[in-house]
C-alpha cells in the first residue's frame, strides 16, 4: 500500500513537471510578449525591458522553466536580477517555496493570489459535493427501488430538467427568490471557516445548492442505472434466494456493487470542481479559483494561469490516487501493486 502510494506520487510529480513544461512553452514562447503583458499597456520600451529582466523573461525558455521548478523547491526572490535587488532592497518580494511565480498584474506572488481564492473554491466544492452525493444517491436509490412507478418517472424527469438547466439560470433564480425576494438567506458572502463555521456554512448553501443540483441530477440518474444493473447480478439473486430482506438486499448487496463506478466519477468530478466553479462563483460574486482563472485570462496574467493549471492538475492527480485506494477498499479483488 505504502509502496503503491509512493510509486503513484512519483509518477504524479513527473506528470506535473511535464505539465509545467508544456504550459510554459505554450504561454511564454507564444505569440505575445509576456513582459509586455506583465508591464501593462502604457509601458515604455525601457519599462518593458526592466520588467523582462525582473521576471527573467530575457532568459531562454528552458532556463526560465528550470528556475521556475527550482523556485517550487527552494523559493525565489523578486526581482530575479540580483543586482536590481541589491540596488532597491525595498522592492524585494520573497516568494517562499513552493513558489509558483510572480504576478505583475496583481503585484503579488502567485501563491498569495491563489491563497485567497483556494479556500473559497474548496468550500463551495466540498459543500456541494456533500449535497450532491447525498441527494443523488438518495434519489437514485428511491427511483431504482420503485422502478417504473410514477415516483421513479418523476425523479428521472426532474433530474433531466435540472441536468439540462444552465447553472447560471438556477443560480440567478435562487439568488433572486430565495435570497432577495423571500429573504430566507442573506445575500451570500464568503465567510472563512476559521472566522465563523456557522456563517461559513449558511453563506455557502445557495452557491453549493446551485452547483449541486446539476451534479445531483446526473448522479441520481447514474446511480439509478448502476443500481438497476447491479440488481440483475447473479449474487443479488443469490442473496434474495437466501431470504435476505429488501432493505439489506439493497444496501449490503446491490448498492455496494453499484457504488464502484460512482466513486471514480465522484472523485474526478470533485477534483475538477476544487479548481473552481466559474459560473457559480460569478453569479454569487465569490472570488474563487474559477473567477480568478477567468480574470487572469482576460488580463493575460500568465504566471497566475500557469499556477492555476498546475494546482488543478495536482487536484486531479491526487483525486486519482485517492479513488484507486478507495477502489481497493471497496473491491477486495483489486490489489494495489
Amino acid at each position: 500500500m505504502f509502496a503503491y502510494i509512493v510509486r503513484r506520487a512519483v509518477i504524479g510529480v513527473a506528470l506535473l513537471i511535464v505539465m509545467s513544461l508544456v504550459t510554459f512553452i505554450l504561454f511564454f514562447s507564444g505569440a505575445f510578449d509576456p513582459a509586455r503583458n506583465a508591464c501593462g499597456k502604457v509601458c515604455s520600451p525601457a519599462q518593458i525591458e526592466q520588467t523582462s529582466k525582473a521576471l527573467g523573461y530575457d532568459k531562454p525558455i528552458l532556463t526560465q522553466w528550470g528556475s521556475f521548478l527550482a523556485g517550487i523547491v527552494v523559493g525565489r526572490d523578486y526581482p530575479l536580477d540580483k543586482k536590481v535587488r541589491e540596488e532597491n532592497p525595498d522592492l524585494v518580494t520573497h516568494c517562499a517555496a513552493p513558489c509558483l511565480g510572480y504576478s505583475m498584474v496583481n503585484t503579488d506572488t502567485v501563491n498569495n493570489v491563489l491563497k485567497s481564492a483556494i479556500p473559497i473554491s474548496v468550500s463551495i466544492a466540498l459543500v456541494a459535493f456533500v449535497f450532491w452525493i447525498i441527494g443523488g444517491l438518495l434519489f437514485g436509490i428511491i427511483a431504482a427501488m420503485t422502478k417504473g412507478s410514477f415516483l421513479d418517472r418523476g425523479i428521472v424527469g426532474l433530474s433531466l430538467i435540472f441536468y439540462a438547466f444552465p447553472t447560471f439560470v438556477v443560480g440567478s433564480l435562487l439568488l433572486r427568490f430565495v435570497a432577495i425576494k423571500w429573504q430566507i438567506f442573506a445575500l451570500p458572502v464568503y465567510v472563512p471557516l476559521t472566522q465563523s463555521p456557522g456563517l461559513w456554512f449558511t453563506n455557502l448553501i445557495l452557491p453549493a445548492v446551485t452547483l449541486a443540483l446539476f451534479y445531483m441530477a446526473a448522479y441520481a440518474r447514474m446511480s439509478r442505472a448502476f443500481i438497476i444493473e447491479a440488481s440483475t447480478e447473479d449474487y443479488v439473486r443469490t442473496a434474495k434466494a437466501k431470504g435476505v430482506k429488501k432493505v439489506p438486499l439493497m444496501f449490503k448487496h446491490t448498492l455496494r456493487a453499484a457504488l464502484t463506478p460512482l466513486v471514480t466519477m465522484a472523485g474526478l468530478d470533485l477534483a475538477i470542481l476544487l479548481g473552481g466553479a466559474i459560473i457559480t462563483e460569478d453569479v454569487f460574486g465569490f472570488h474563487g479559483l474559477g473567477l480568478l482563472a477567468v480574470t487572469s485570462n482576460s488580463r493575460q496574467d500568465l504566471p497566475t494561469i500557469v499556477g492555476i493549471v498546475l494546482l488543478l492538475s495536482t487536484f486531479v492527480i491526487i483525486a486519482n490516487i485517492v479513488v484507486d485506494i478507495l477502489y481497493a477498499y471497496i473491491d477486495p479483488r483489486v490489489r494495489l501493486d
Binding site: A3, Y4, V6, R7, R335, L336, D337
Partner: protein, 398 residues
C-alpha cells in the same frame, strides 16, 4: 495392430488422415512462460506462469489431434501459440516444414491464410457492427486473393457450404442463433482454404442439440477439403468422437498421447483414467447410482510453482517416492501411444515398481544409481518404430 487397421476399426469418423505423408504440424518442446511481476516500488519479474512447458506433438496431414484437459492445463494457450497469437518462450512450431515459432507478425501474414482458428463463443468473436458478408469476406480482401467483384460470390458459396442461406450475407450476427453464429465463424475460418484449423472449444457454448450439427459440419468439411484439425476441448466424449488421436494435458505438459483406442480403451496414465471415469454416463441409467470412478482430491496446483518431479503426483492415487524426485519422461509404450508416468498401467493394473527407473539411471526410489546405465530414449514429437514394452520392460521394435 498397424496404423491402417486402427483407422479401419474406427468407423466413419474423420478417416482421411494420411500417416505416411509428412505431418502438417510438428510442435517440439513448445513453451509459454508468462512473467509474474512483484508488487512494490519496482516491479521485477519474480516468477513465471508456466502455462505451456515443453509440449511436443504432431498433427497428421488431413488428420485431427484432440487436445483435452481441465481448465488451466494450457490447452488453449497451445492453440493460441500455434496460431501465433502469442510468441512462444521456447520450442519449435513446424508448419509444413517451416518453423513459425519465431516469425514476426509481418512474416506470419502469408501463413495466416493456412492456419485459421475457430473460437468458443460465436457471440463475442464476431464483430456485431459488421454484416456476415463483410466478416466472411474480410480475409479475402486483407490477403488480396480475389478481385472485389468476386468476393460476394465466394461469400455466398461459403455460406452455402456451412449450411446457411446464401441470401443472408447482408444480415448482422445478432440476427442469427448461437449455432448459426458458430457456422458463420466456421465459414470465416474457411474463407482462405486453410490447411490447419485450430478449433478452441468450438461447440461448448452451444445447446446440446446444436452441438451435433456443428460437429457433423466440421467432419464433412474435413473430408471434403482435407483440412487438418487441432481440436481443443474439455468434453472427452466430443473429442473421442472427432479425433483419431488425442493428447491429454495436465499443468502445461502432455501426460498421455496416443490414438483413440489407446487413450479411451487402454489409458495408462492415472490422470487420463481419472478424467475418463469422471464423465457421467447416460448408460448408467440402466443400473442406477453412480459409476465406479477414481476420485481425485484437491485442486490443480499453481502453474507458477508446479510440484517437483511428476506434476500430477500431488493428486495421484498411486504416487510413490520416485514421483517427487524424478520427472517421468513421455515414454512411447506402443505403436501410437506415449505416456508420462513412472507406473503406467491400465486401471488397477499399475506396476509395483517404477518402469522408468533403469531407463533414467535411478533406483526405484528415484535416487541416482551409479550402477544403472541410462538408455537413450526416442524423444521428440513423432512416434517411433521402437518403443518400450511394458510387459518385459525391454525396447521393442516393430
Amino acid at each position: 495392430m498397424s496404423a491402417e487397421n486402427v483407422l479401419k476399426a474406427e468407423g466413419h469418423a474423420a478417416m482421411t488422415a494420411d500417416l505416411s505423408a509428412p505431418p502438417v504440424l510438428t510442435v517440439n518442446d513448445l513453451k509459454m512462460h508468462f512473467p509474474v511481476k512483484s508488487p512494490g516500488l519496482f516491479r521485477r519479474t519474480v516468477g513465471h506462469v508456466k502455462a505451456v512447458d515443453g509440449v511436443s506433438f504432431q498433427v497428421p496431414t488431413n488428420g485431427s489431434l484432440g487436445l483435452v484437459g481441465e481448465s488451466g492445463c494450457g490447452k488453449s494457450t497451445t492453440g493460441r501459440l500455434i496460431t501465433r497469437l502469442y510468441e512462444p518462450t521456447g520450442g519449435q512450431i513446424e508448419f509444413e516444414g517451416h518453423d513459425i515459432a519465431k516469425l514476426s507478425q509481418r512474416q506470419m501474414l502469408p501463413l495466416r491464410r493456412d492456419i485459421q482458428m475457430i473460437f468458443q463463443d460465436p457471440a463475442t468473436s464476431l464483430n456485431p457492427r459488421h454484416t456476415v458478408g463483410s466478416i466472411i469476406g474480410a480475409p479475402l480482401q486483407i490477403h488480396n486473393v480475389l478481385p472485389k467483384n468476386k468476393v460476394l460470390g465466394r461469400v455466398q458459396e461459403l455460406l452455402e457450404i456451412v449450411g446457411l442461406n446464401p441470401e443472408h450475407y447482408n444480415r448482422y450476427p445478432h440476427e442469427f442463433s448461437g449455432g448459426q453464429r458458430q457456422r458463420i465463424g466456421i465459414a470465416r475460418a474457411l474463407t482462405l482454404q486453410p490447411k490447419l484449423l485450430v478449433a478452441d472449444e468450438p461447440v461448448s457454448a452451444l445447446d446440446v442439440s446444436i452441438q451435433a450439427q456443428v460437429i457433423n459440419l466440421l467432419q464433412d468439411l474435413q473430408t471434403e477439403f482435407g483440412i487438418a484439425f487441432l481440436f481443443i476441448a474439455h468434453d472427452l466424449a466430443v473429442v473421442r468422437h472427432f479425433c483419431p488421436e488425442i493428447a491429454v494435458m495436465y499443468l502445461g505438459k502432455i501426460v498421455e498421447i496416443g490414438d483413440r483406442e489407446s487413450i479411451y480403451g487402454h489409458a495408462h496414465h492415472p490422470y487420463t483414467q481419472a478424467l475418463l471415469s469422471a464423465v457421467p454416463d447416460v448408460k448408467q441409467a440402466t443400473l442406477g447410482g453412480r459409476r465406479e470412478r477414481i476420485r481425485l482430491t484437491g485442486d490443480v496446483p499453481s502453474p507458477i510453482n508446479p510440484p517437483s518431479g511428476c506434476r500430477f503426483r500431488t493428486r495421484c492415487p498411486i504416487a510413490k517416492e520416485i514421483c517427487a524426485k524424478v520427472e517421468p519422461p513421455l515414454l512411447q509404450i506402443g505403436p501410437r501411444h506415449k505416456v508420462a508416468c513412472h507406473f503406467p498401467g491400465e486401471m488397477g493394473k499399475a506396476p509395483e515398481t517404477p518402469v522408468t527407473s533403469r531407463l533414467l539411471g535411478v533406483d526405484n526410489h528415484g535416487t541416482p544409481d551409479p550402477g544403472a546405465s541410462p538408455v537413450e530414449l526416442p524423444t521428440g514429437p513423432s512416434f517411433s518404430n521402437t518403443w518400450f514394452d511394458l510387459g518385459n520392460r525391454t525396447i521393442h521394435t516393430a
